[in-house]
């Protein structure tokens, strides 16, 4: 089965390491993953700002790009939520019954942790990440998709990783797409409280399943010279022990490094049953 990777516009343009990490991770689990090059953006920024007409061409493009795939995997709870909950609205707005039908017939879109836990039935993905980590469950993953404890179970199975509880974890970080600039003061007030909670944990890394939220919290943590870095969950799950043989590269390139490393592991393996360790 070939899955289409919906990398999302923000990952494509700003966080390609996350996309590479998803590819590494899925291949390691024996998944045939393809990147439909016609994809661009799901249209969420337009929809959430009220520009429905402007989202219509993006929806058409998205549907054409992913037609024929058995499943779509998205390393973003927010963009998965947009596909699952907003595309119908945009199609209806277009007044084109063909577009409405196409939305209904589109392949199922899974947020990455849903795909790993529900479809592949894997919790231990064979990752190694010997760091102190805290996890922020982003709002759309938590409340729009209901991913529940899937990310946590995946993180708990990562060898070497120590997970510390984030205080007030379920509270919004304040990103909210264009909210971050339209209501910048409120957004920053929310984000500052989130950053404070992150620092309280003493964690070295803040992990989440959405780079948009992480760009906001990470931007604040960076401005505060906090010394706490942010990482997408996929990059942690893609990290393996092989990476420690590489020259130390404690930068955003670490997932890419592990991508390189995993390529030397030989041909993709069949999915492992849940709980199995390599």
């Amino acid at each position: 089965m070939t899955v289409g990777l919906m990398v999302t516009c923000i990952n494509d343009a700003l966080f390609p390491d996350t996309g590479r990490a998803v590819v590494t991770l899925l291949r390691r689990l024996g998944v045939d993953v393809d990147f439909p090059a016609a994809q661009t953006c799901c249209g969420q920024p337009m929809v959430n700002t009220g520009y429905l007409d402007e989202a219509v061409p993006l929806l058409r493009n998205h549907l054409e790009a992913f037609a024929g795939y058995e499943a779509v995997v998205v390393p973003s709870g927010s963009c998965a939520g947009s596909v699952r909950h907003q595309h119908r609205l945009v199609a209806q707005r277009s007044g084109d019954p063909g577009l409405v039908r196409a939305v209904e017939q589109a392949p199922p879109a899974y947020e990455l942790t849903e795909y790993l836990v529900d479809v592949l039935d894997v919790v231990d993905v064979g990752a190694y990440f010997p760091h102190l980590v805290t996890y922020h469950p982003t709002c759309h993953s938590l409340r729009m998709l209901g991913v529940g404890d899937r990310p946590r179970r995946l993180l708990e199975a990562v060898r070497g990783l120590r997970l510390v509880e984030l205080p007030a974890a379920s509270e919004c970080c304040g990103f909210g797409g264009t909210f971050a600039v339209k209501n910048a003061d409120t957004s920053v007030a929310m984000g500052s409280d989130k950053a404070r909670h992150v620092r309280e944990t003493q964690a070295e890394v803040l992990v989440a399943g959405d780079n948009s939220c992480l760009m906001h919290i990470g931007g604040l943590l960076s401005r505060e010279r906090s010394g706490v870095r942010v990482m997408h969950l996929a990059e942690i799950l893609a990290s393996t022990e092989a990476v420690i043989d590489e020259p130390a590269r404690p930068t955003a390139g670490s997932a890419a490094a592990s991508a390189e490393a995993s390529r030397t592991d030989g041909p993709p393996r069949a999915p492992r049953p849940a709980g199995a360790i390599r």
Partner: protein, 516 residues
């Protein structure tokens, strides 16, 4: 007292930046509140307000979560509550006439008010007919919505608020900032100060040795209010529910002041929004379980008062019910937005809202603040006419916490997004930076070749920045600090990662998905 004066002046100066409350001859008003982002900016700088709100909402949130967790079938109750309200709204015309018939039969007089002005006129006329210069009031959102107190004042009639929090707001010439706890933005030392300063002007003064102990403050309010309860001939209330089948109105409260108003005066006027209907007495079963747990975080509220028209020899002998539309039928006509009419005014959405918790209610510039206000106010007033109203649907990060706690399952984020599209559509054709940006993004993302070209440009820029930017974010990636307008809205407080030299798309194509 000098210490008190000092405290007081500090607080006033801290609050002077607050935009919403405007003292005027007719009391405070929401008129003139700037659009949400501007109002919020000032509120966010009020450190005491932030502390008061974080404490109060945090406490209620915790209580609600605990008592909701006790109910095994909470989700079923929510579904039942939503379904009951939807059914009522679908047949609203039938139930309204049924209510009118039942009320009339029970000796009440029913009035129909299309808008605020009409409702106010009806209440003023009734009060005048009884030759009174004062009324006592039960806490009621509908009467705040229509500006009844101001209308009564214009007619020379003083309306005394008797709910503790409304009393604090009224004495302080302030505005309510919360649906359930209108004075949530005040802490107890501020309340003490208001009581000491203002009670004497409105009636019985507060004892000079008043402390900020809650029990002492409540006792002072009780003493102050008692003379008003005993003196007033006319009371004004709202209603939490109106049972169409029997003509019964219900008021749910915590303090008992409502019951004093509902039972002692000779005349009772209730202003009831037409969405308050439930078809039968049994339907109250669902809502009386949902409301207290969602609202005050109690299993049951202390006082539930119900009355059906006039009971000879017991309670008010003249009962009026003003059925209020004031924009509600417009909301009903909106297929996505009409779910807002299910609202039972519990304010659970305010208490969980991270925006409300930080900006407070006054920033919304509306009687209904918080998430429900951000959808209800634009629908009641209409979008596209007023910049302040149009800013409300954007006063949310769409985090969904409100929907999660709503006892009648109002999908507030869905309605917010829907209203944003109405705001945008109302302004289409007028040039705006945001509109131009969205159009440009829509064009760029319309075809992947355009997206790839834009990313290539960004990659070129990145190579330059990689040589010039010294700053590194934690983790090592190069980061940009403060940037010029319009990006400053983002970069004033947040660093921005330097774009990578190569997009994911370019990497995939160059390496055949990492296989080369």
């Amino acid at each position: 007292m000098s210490e008190l004066a000092r405290e007081s002046s500090t607080r006033r100066s801290a609050r002077s930046a607050e935009p919403a409350p405007r003292a005027s001859a007719r009391g405070a008003t929401f008129l003139g509140t700037p659009p949400f982002p501007t109002a919020a900016k000032a509120a966010l700088a009020d450190t005491q307000l932030r502390r008061n709100l974080a404490h109060a909402t945090g406490t209620i949130r915790g209580k609600r979560a605990a008592v909701v967790a006790e109910v095994d079938n909470w989700e079923e109750l929510r579904l039942a509550g939503a379904a009951l309200k939807d059914r009522t709204l679908r047949h609203l015309d039938t139930y309204l006439t049924q209510l009118e018939t039942a009320l009339t039969k029970a000796g009440a007089t029913v009035h129909w008010a299309g808008d605020a002005a009409e409702a106010n006129r009806i209440v003023v006329d009734i009060a005048r007919a009884h030759d009174t210069d004062e009324v006592v009031k039960v806490k009621s959102m509908a009467t705040v919505e229509i500006g009844l107190n101001e209308a009564l004042a214009d007619a020379g009639i003083t309306a005394w608020e008797t709910d503790l929090a409304e009393l604090i707001v009224q004495l302080g010439d302030d505005l309510p900032s919360h649906i359930l706890v209108p004075a949530i933005h005040r802490n107890r030392s501020e309340v003490r100060e208001i009581f000491l300063r203002e009670m004497g002007r409105a009636g019985k003064p507060a004892p000079a040795d008043l402390t900020d102990e809650p029990a002492r403050l409540a006792a002072a309010a009780r003493e102050h209010l008692r003379e008003k309860f005993l003196r007033a001939k006319v009371a004004v209330s709202g209603a939490n529910f109106a049972v169409a089948e029997t003509g019964t109105l219900a008021v749910v409260e915590s303090e008992g002041n409502g019951r004093m108003c509902l039972t002692l005066p000779e005349v009772l006027i209730s202003v009831v929004g037409i969405e308050k209907l439930v078809p039968t007495w049994e339907d109250l079963d669902v809502f009386l379980q949902l409301l207290p747990r969602s609202s005050t975080g109690e299993r049951m509220n202390p006082y539930t008062s119900m009355w059906t028209g006039v009971t000879p020899g017991d309670g008010p002998q003249e009962v009026h019910v003003v059925l209020l539309d004031n924009g509600r039928t417009d909301v009903l006509a909106d297929e996505v937005g009409r779910q807002a009419l299910r609202c039972i005014r519990c304010s659970a959405c305010l208490n969980v809202c991270p925006v409300y918790e930080r900006t407070g209610g006054h920033s919304y510039g509306s009687v209904y603040p918080g998430p429900i206000g951000a959808i209800l106010t634009p629908m009641l007033r209409g979008v596209g006419h007023d910049e302040q109203v149009d800013s409300l649907p954007y006063a949310s990060s769409l985090c969904g916490a409100c929907f999660e706690v709503c006892p009648v399952r109002i999908d507030i984020p869905e309605v917010l997004v829907h209203l944003r599209s109405q705001v945008v559509d109302a302004h289409r054709g007028r040039p705006s930076l945001q509109g131009a940006a969205m159009k440009a993004a829509s064009w760029m993302f319309g075809r992947s070749a355009r997206t790839a070209a834009a990313e290539k440009l960004s990659g070129l820029g990145s190579r330059v920045l990689d040589r010039t930017v010294r700053r590194r974010a934690p983790g090592g990636r190069r980061a940009l600090g403060s940037l010029p307008w319009p990006v400053s809205a983002w970069s004033d407080a947040r660093d921005t990662p330097v774009p990578p030299p190569e997009s994911f798309r370019a990497w995939w194509s160059r390496t055949d998905g990492g296989r080369r």
